[in-house]
């Protein structure tokens, strides 16, 4: 499987008044054609920063300090703002949490899809609108020709997310980044929305990065899971492997705190300690070390990512 996106040694920092936040440190992963991988982690782990940085959407305080992110042969970290603007929306697209806020509230939804087709596919006004209606049909919106003139406030949250998906995939991108696409939706709607993403991914062969805090959703919807903690990918493995045999202590802790499979509340375990302050100049090499019960003296010497089994990569000296 050839990689659609190949990220290596990717680091991001934010300059703030209270110091430099080392938000991402040497993040590396690849996503293949038609593959769905999940980026999983708690708040502040760097999941969304990864997505924003890849697509050149960081605000002025954020800066990619090293690394490469190669999308279909183009290094996104070296691309000019103009090149990035052409790639975004055409070859790489993103859907966001809270679709109602991400859509333009004063433009009909059909127009918003047609805008993408006119800009990136160069279609005429009439063809773009026909394409927009076809996209609405593909994402399962009933009576698409009529609904195309609806405004976001007239649609439910689930319908708005379908419109976002339609906008994102209208140009048949090679890569779709879905950032918490179903947070805030009901589980029944979540299932339908995720079905639509899966259907479009299998039809078009697009690579998908699913960003979520919900380990069970990631388990159900992706072939591979990368677990993030404090700006590091601590474990990256095939979904089945990661769930059956997690090797990084944080992955194991995260699973033990997840209510999905627990038989009783007393069986759940919280994760001791907090995320380290990423502004510290003396951040330890392993950012989980202070919370870890398997810490060795060598953990303070340096952090190395290594393949511990086929398709299982971890950042730990003393795996479980």
């Amino acid at each position: 499987m050839s990689a659609v996106l190949d990220v290596s040694d990717f680091s991001v920092e934010f300059r703030t008044r209270s110091g430099i936040v080392r938000a991402l440190d040497r993040v590396a992963f690849t996503v293949g054609r038609g593959e769905t991988m999940a980026l999983v982690g708690e708040s502040g782990s760097g999941k969304s920063v990864t997505a924003y940085a890849l697509l050149g959407l960081l605000d002025a305080a954020g800066k990619i300090t090293q690394g490469r992110a190669v999308l279909e042969g183009v290094d996104l970290t070296a691309a000019s703002p103009g090149e990035l603007a052409r790639i975004r929306g055409k070859r790489a697209a993103m859907i966001f949490q809270n679709p109602r806020a991400a859509l333009n509230p004063i433009r009909p939804i059909g127009q918003q899809i047609a805008d993408v087709l006119r800009r990136h596919a160069g279609l005429s006004k009439r063809d773009a609108m026909a394409g927009a209606i076809d996209m609405l049909r593909q994402v399962g919106i009933p009576d698409p020709a009529r609904r195309a003139s609806a405004y976001p406030f007239e649609l439910s949250g689930g319908m708005c997310q379908r419109v976002m998906i339609a906008i994102a995939v209208a140009t048949r991108p090679a890569l779709l980044i879905a950032d918490e696409p179903t947070t805030g939706l009901d589980v029944t709607t979540q299932a339908v929305v995720m079905d639509i993403v899966a259907k479009l991914a299998s039809e078009t062969g697009m690579a998908t990065i699913l960003i979520t805090h919900d380990l069970a959703l990631a388990a159900e919807r992706s072939a591979r899971i990368a677990v993030m903690h404090a700006g590091h990918i601590v474990e990256d493995a095939a979904t089945k492997t990661l769930l059956a045999n997690p090797r990084h202590p944080y992955t194991r802790r995260l699973l033990a705190a997840t209510p999905t499979a627990a038989g009783a509340l007393s069986a759940l375990r919280s994760i001791p300690g907090n995320l380290p302050d990423l502004r510290r100049d003396d951040l330890p090499p392993c950012r989980f070390a202070a919370r870890c019960d398997r810490r060795l003296p060598g953990c303070d010497a340096g952090l190395v990512w290594r393949d511990i089994a086929p398709a299982q990569r971890i950042a730990c000296w003393n795996p479980t």
Binding site: D186, T188, V192, A216, R221, A257, A261, A264, L268, S270
Partner: protein, 340 residues
């Protein structure tokens, strides 16, 4: 007869809350010449009956718009019902206007924990102010006594005393959740209504808050109504669960059984939609479509009719009653006996 005396505490195991045929309808104003005589009504809560025993935790689940929040506002007496009864201990509360209940002696005995303590607590209040507020207003506690009671509530909720001088924005999500719980239990309520108390928290913090709630229930002898989108949390925390659909109860029963073996086709769809770690998804039970409009629904049709995978013509002409089944279960479906 509605007395003004607070209810005397009853024996453990007895019924604390008895809600019967409770309904709340909101009028939709249609101005202009064509309004006519009929005002369309949103049936937010429709003919809802359930009981809550002392010491029990009752889960309340359903999709957005199913009436969970309106029901919570009714039983906490923040809004007035259109009809029906709410018995709290020995006392009927339904006829008491919400405004009058705000100054009632029983106000302190029914308290709520809101979803995001960061937004439900006054940002200009320190944690101590937030916890003291209900004690001062509802119990008239002042001075050294107030300080002692605030510190006691904070300690019960695992909130370090040195955090009491902080403002909400200076606290972490988990600490804010603890403030929200501490202020709700400060007046020692009998009934605590928890409206998605952990929805904004990471799983590792959620665990500590859920375990705190279990400890508090046992030490203080409270009953809980727990509203949540997260069926896994409801399964782990609740004794019984009420499933709502478009304003009506469709299923009630012991939480473990309702989730393991749902009787109502809506509950089946809901349970099947919850992501599982083993990835064994039951796509056959996928619920498509959206709920119907809650405006003037047909009183003779099942609310789930049209979206239901097993519905028949009968469901469009005969509203199914909430029938009793073995094991303390109830379901409102003509075909609840039939295997899925």
């Amino acid at each position: 007869m509605i007395g003004n005396d607070p209810t005397p505490p009853g024996a453990a195991g007895s019924t604390l809350l008895d809600v019967a045929e409770l309904s709340k309808r909101f009028p939709l104003r249609r101005g202009g010449f064509f309004g006519g005589g009929h005002t369309p009504m949103v049936h937010a809560v429709d003919d809802v009956s359930f009981t809550l025993a002392r010491g029990e935790t009752l889960g309340l689940v359903g999709e957005s718009g199913c009436g969970k929040s309106t029901l919570v506002r009714l039983i906490t007496r923040l809004t007035d019902p259109s009809s029906g009864s709410i018995r709290f201990g020995q006392r009927e509360l339904a006829a008491l206007p919400a405004k009058a209940f705000a100054r009632d002696a029983d106000r302190a005995r029914i308290q709520i924990v809101f979803q995001d303590a960061g937004e439900s607590i006054n940002p200009r209040f320190t944690a101590a102010d937030a916890i003291a507020d209900p004690l001062r207003k509802l119990k008239g506690v002042t001075g050294a006594d107030l300080k002692a009671k605030v510190e006691e509530a904070a300690a019960l909720c695992g909130l370090p005393l040195e955090l009491l001088d902080r403002f909400p924005h200076q606290l972490s999500g988990g600490q804010r959740a603890r403030v929200g719980i501490a202020r709700a239990i400060a007046t020692r309520p009998d009934l605590l209504v928890l409206d998605e108390p952990t929805a904004a928290l990471d799983v590792s913090v959620q665990v500590t808050i859920l375990q705190l709630l279990v400890t508090l229930r046992e030490t203080l002898g409270m009953s809980y109504v727990f509203v949540s989108h997260d069926l896994n949390v409801v399964r782990l925390l609740c004794d019984r669960v009420v499933v709502m659909y478009l304003g009506r109860i469709v299923e009630v029963g012991p939480a473990s059984q309702v989730f393991a073996n749902p009787l109502h086709p809506y509950t089946r769809g809901l349970v099947a939609a919850v992501p599982r770690l083993d990835g064994l998804r039951d796509d056959a039970l996928r619920l498509a479509g959206d709920p119907r409009s809650p405006i003037d629904p047909d009183p003779n049709a099942c609310r789930f009719h049209g979206r239901c995978p097993i519905g028949t013509d009968r469901c469009g002409t005969e509203m199914p009653a909430l029938r009793r089944f073995a094991g303390g279960r109830q379901a409102a479906c003509h075909y609840a006996e039939e295997p899925p």
